[in-house]
Symmetry: C2
Amino acid sequence: MTGTIVAVVIEDRDVPGLEADRGLVSRKSTAERVAGVLRKRIAEGFFLPGGRLSEQDIGNALGVSRNTLREAFRLLTHERLLAHELNRGVFVRIPSVEDVVDIYRVRKIIECAAVRGVTAKPASFPKIREKVEIGDEAARTGNWKDLGTANVWFHQELAALSGSERVNELVSRLIAELRLVFHIMAEPRRFHERYLPRNHEILDRVEAGDGLGAEQLLMKYLEDAEEQLVGAYAERAAAARAAIAVE
Amino acid sequence: MTGTIVAVVIEDRDVPGLEADRGLVSRKSTAERVAGVLRKRIAEGFFLPGGRLSEQDIGNALGVSRNTLREAFRLLTHERLLAHELNRGVFVRIPSVEDVVDIYRVRKIIECAAVRGVTAKPASFPKIREKVEIGDEAARTGNWKDLGTANVWFHQELAALSGSERVNELVSRLIAELRLVFHIMAEPRRFHERYLPRNHEILDRVEAGDGLGAEQLLMKYLEDAEEQLVGAYAERAAAARAAIAVE
DNA sequence: ACAGTAAGGATTGTTCAACAATTCCACAAG
DNA sequence: CTTGTGGAATTGTTGAACAATCCTTACTGT
């Protein structure tokens, strides 16, 4: 028995650094691939918030059985991208204003904690800087869609400073949910553009090793964004829901 | 079209305060009920970490079809309670040491932020106090299982101070995952007992309105618990995995 | 004795068809 | 305008079937 334990431990340490590639090797089930397709479609707005996803139609279109498709629906429901109503089907979720408030509440906790944790020594963070510059470039060329995406990535990189797998996953989900909000707002330009200079300020503080300073800026940033979003969102969300009721 | 919007809005405000009861009305699907049963069984250790959950056996035992059972498995896999290996089945997850470290990393961020947010004015928090006292009582009567449960609830109440639905859900999951760890450790007494006085200290600070003080205590608490857990856990987890390999 | 392998049995992955349960919609009745 | 009341459409769930994969075991050759 003890011999087998040793064998396992050895196997763990035999080829260090290779374990990270396991995700690439492990094949995914059909349901997960289908979920991936739908997730992407939802993110890019092909399926709009409030819309119903018919088992039959999508099953036929994608060439998978209803059972497999339902497994995919479960996955996305758990990510809060779809809402499952018993005997009625699944719908692309319409986040409520309370959802938006809660999302920002969690973002403040998570992102600020991540930023606060940077050491007191100056250092370079190329990945974060990259996202900021992608945002600048997108704004310069007027590519508003990319601007929104870059902004999202910027915040994901900030959260990644925490070094926690679970935090990364959580933030990914929060941001996927926020995408639904943006689809209802449908004004990426006016919303994202004004935050570009603040991205730079935050990055500067981070690279200067001033975690507390960066945290203060980020907190204000998130408070402002939330306020702006909540103010305009309430009526839009109601209108979106009403549009469904009409249709 | 605008007219219909008004109609919806009116309907929304017509019977205020009733929407909250929607969750009670909505029945749950079979898959969700099955997931609930399995979740409970896993929490109480009926299915031990590393054990495989046979589709056929459990399906027969619970009287549901394989398809429905698989939907339930998906749910629990997403909660990190089960691990799904393609063509091999689902297993009760054995958290790695890295998982434990990451869980505590997130707990520090979340719970500390929640506690830090309490106002500077003294107030009473009966729900938190209740959990602390349940823990005391369990320790006095030597009911070690309840002691662990009470301790878990205490921390859930602390996190609930954040007032965020998403934080509550996240913490619930983290703690469900930690239960797997405790099942492998299998020493609820020695682990939890020593933290009882610290529960009181933290509660005192919270009720005194000293959020920052409570945060410091809680941080130290979590650091100590993590250290103690990680130190003893590595070999146990390896042994558990090896036991599977042998069996 | 031992690594490699080939056959088989068992389990999961996926699909399909069927039926029950529920919701939706239109229309009639009060 | 509200309140039943049908039938059509959709989802919920099951059971069977087959393919794909994994695990065990026995066999082979060295």
